[in-house]
Symmetry: C2
Subunit: 190 residues, 2 copies
């Protein structure tokens, strides 16, 4: 839980007090998963958002041909979950698979709503996090539509070396929207 506290403190304008954190903490549930376990599977409703304390996970979906498309890669201090399913209580199309032994803190939709409403620092945190994630997503869109495959890879490698290190190349390739073969060739060329 200490990891969560430090993480939240990075987003708020004044540090979270002991009392406030006591409340916040009480709404989370700790869970451990072993490599290759699923946090979420196609057809389920995403009941919790998962804050990753330790470990790594990938979010992907299967297209009509059964091909995997990685849409998100998460490591420590990121959130995993399907926000659409979570917000609207509708079945997800994604799988979220833990890629290493992982520890997460789970929070339900109802509890998020309570904290947003009753805990100013948490409310502030959510607003700031949304802002940050909005900006990150915009960058990824820009990269996807206006960069070549090579530029996308180099940009990604520069921004997220840690993620690059912890996932195999074919997963990174899928995340970048290219095939493993193409990525292998790009790396060879330089």
């Amino acid at each position: 839980m200490q990891a969560l506290r430090e993480y939240l403190n990075q987003y708020v304008s004044s540090l979270i007090s002991d009392e406030e954190f006591e409340v916040i903490q009480s709404y989370f549930v700790h869970k451990k998963l072993r490599k290759k376990q699923y946090l979420l599977q196609y057809g389920e409703i995403c009941k919790h958002m998962a804050f990753i304390v330790k470990g790594a996970a990938r979010k992907f979906y299967l297209d009509e041909k059964g091909v995997e498309h990685v849409v998100d890669l998460c490591i420590e201090n990121w959130w995993a979950g399907d926000r659409e399913s979570f917000a609207m209580s509708k079945p997800t199309i994604y799988y979220i698979e833990v890629w290493e032994d992982t520890e997460v803190l789970l929070i339900s939709r109802a509890n998020v709503a309570i904290l947003e409403y009753e805990c100013k620092p948490f409310n502030e945190f959510v607003l700031k996090l949304d802002e940050k994630s909005h900006i990150a997503k915009q960058k990824r869109i820009t990269s996807a539509i206006s960069f070549t495959a090579k530029e996308r890879y180099e940009d990604f490698a520069a921004c997220y070396p840690e993620i690059l290190r912890r996932f195999p190349q074919h997963v990174i390739a899928s995340y970048l929207g290219i095939t493993k073969d193409t990525l292998s060739r790009l790396r060879r060329q330089g």
Copy 2:
């Protein structure tokens, strides 16, 4: 302003009262722009987010070669602005050009912060809007990395026929990350 009120009411759990809307309204400034005017230009700091009451705008940037890349297309009941520049008071890399005669409601960062803090319905609105825009951005990323050009176009045409109708093809093509030539050919075929 009535448009804004109706729009906000779509996002909140209980309708906004006259008193509340009076307060909210007072933080916005109305502005008219003529076709081809700029709401934001490269190097400026994005001082306001613009709610589009009437009209249409496109957001784009110029790459090193001077090629335009359209990153967003906005019509009525959408927000235009560069959130990164807005949030961090840093110079934008984007241009936002009004594509028709347009009316907007502007709100500054300071005023957003005040309303988020002091007006519950507005706070709730921002949370919900962020959620929705997060989901929309995720879809666009998924489309960009795992669809073919043709699929991207068809998906876009199905989801946003109104936007398709109001912008020329070469703008749509850039938004989809393909050239106008390719888009023209895709349309012919399918």
